[in-house]
Symmetry: C2
Subunit: 222 residues, 2 copies
DNA sequence: TAGAGAATGTTGCTGATGTCAACATCAGCC
DNA sequence: GGCTGATGTTGACATCAGCAACATTCTCTA
């Protein structure tokens, strides 16, 4: 039996995280407040600072949690396919479905103000999710459903496509209901497969090692 | 000659807007503050409220301004193409280029907390920008470079693609430098054209009138 | 041309927030 | 039993969005 309400909570970090995830889902990043998270966890407004350096870190951990859930959703959706290319398509649909179900959490995951290197866990689990997509791409290449060559550009184009649908849908820019958006995604994934099948792969410039990843765009205004 | 510093500013609304656009570009939506905008305009912290109902409306107008600039960029980029399909491709590249140049402004344009119906100007000019893309699509269909049929799904898939690239790039998720991102976009636009050329168009379910546009996804967490 | 009323800008306030500093309580170990 | 570090609390400060009351100026009409 957990002590009724001891001075020490015992599991406050996880409780705060759960409350934070729920709060994000309800009010989005704009209304998200450390004090409200603390309120919901039943602790003082400063208790969270014993577990998270600041608001940014709490949000980063919440984002990381979202990436784990997204990866799981992609994996589970993909698993229902009979062929590699089917798994890839279903994985993409799972991606959009996830975004439609948790639009605010999805927003935090991708549009956070930019994490200083300290909040790196988000990035790591984010790469995990990308690896799932990449594996489906590679399997589809082996299967002969996608052109051979560096899988990275193929994965990035597929990612861009579903991410674009997800972002436009969750920001209210698609003229579709939720169900129609999923229908649209299915159609798009079909189109992607048939369109990419005999694609001419890009030159070396785009297959450059992922290590060259820029720290961050950070384009300044001129 | 504008009065040195009369009690009445004379053109405060526009000055606030300019300052707001600049501030967004520098600090993004998170650091964006009405008071800082007022400071930069050299007026008291409450003066902006004579011209904008609240912070949300100011941001909405800034977003609308962004959509106008985006539409201009798309039009100008497209104009350099010799054929309709070239104009379409260049238009898409212009879209991504705009996002890379003004990442924070782009963020505000698409990921604002959701405007109550009052802030509608943003939506109107947003539709303007979409219309430019749609026209390029229709021209390309007439030219025979894209399959005939309802241009809407084609436009939405093209939009999703460039929007996905833009969002992933500006949030630091693409393993490319800025220049490489533009190269990638060019390649993707080529792939889009060759892939869509003989595409099987979707059934009627996805060509439903745009009037059916949902108010907003607003998916609640379960 | 004078003055009333509407615009526009200012000062001062309230309630909320992020975060710091100081203090209180508790767990585990000697 | 007492010390030390971890965890939670209280109180404070600066800043922010937005409201209310007041000041100044513009414009329009009589």
């Amino acid at each position: 039996m957990p002590p009724k309400r001891a001075y020490h909570h015992g599991n406050l970090r996880q409780t705060l995280l759960d409350a934070g995830v729920a709060l994000i889902g309800e009010v989005g990043p704009k209304g998200f407040t450390i004090r409200e998270v603390a309120r919901r966890a039943g602790v003082s407004h400063n208790a969270p600072y014993r577990h998270f350096r600041d608001k940014g870190e709490l949000l980063a951990v919440i984002a990381a949690e979202g990436f784990e859930r997204l990866a799981l959703a992609m994996k589970q959706s993909g698993a229902e396919g009979g062929t590699a290319i089917d798994r890839l398509r279903l994985c993409g649909c799972g991606y959009v479905d996830f975004a439609l179900r948790w639009p605010q959490h999805f927003l935090v995951m991708f549009d956070l103000p930019a994490a200083p290197e300290d909040y790196s866990s988000r990035e790591i689990v984010g790469k995990n999710a990308f690896q799932i997509l990449l594996d489906f791409i590679i399997d589809s290449q082996k299967e002969g459903s996608l052109p051979r060559g560096d899988p990275l550009p193929l994965a990035l184009i597929a990612w861009s496509l579903v991410h674009g649908i997800a972002k436009l849908a969750t920001s209210g820019h698609l003229p579709y209901t939720l169900g129609q958006t999923l229908d649209f995604t299915r159609w798009v994934s079909q189109a992607f497969v048939s369109g990419m099948k005999h694609l001419k792969m890009p030159g070396t410039r785009l297959t450059v090692s992922a290590k060259k990843r820029p720290a961050r765009p950070s384009v300044k205004c001129a």
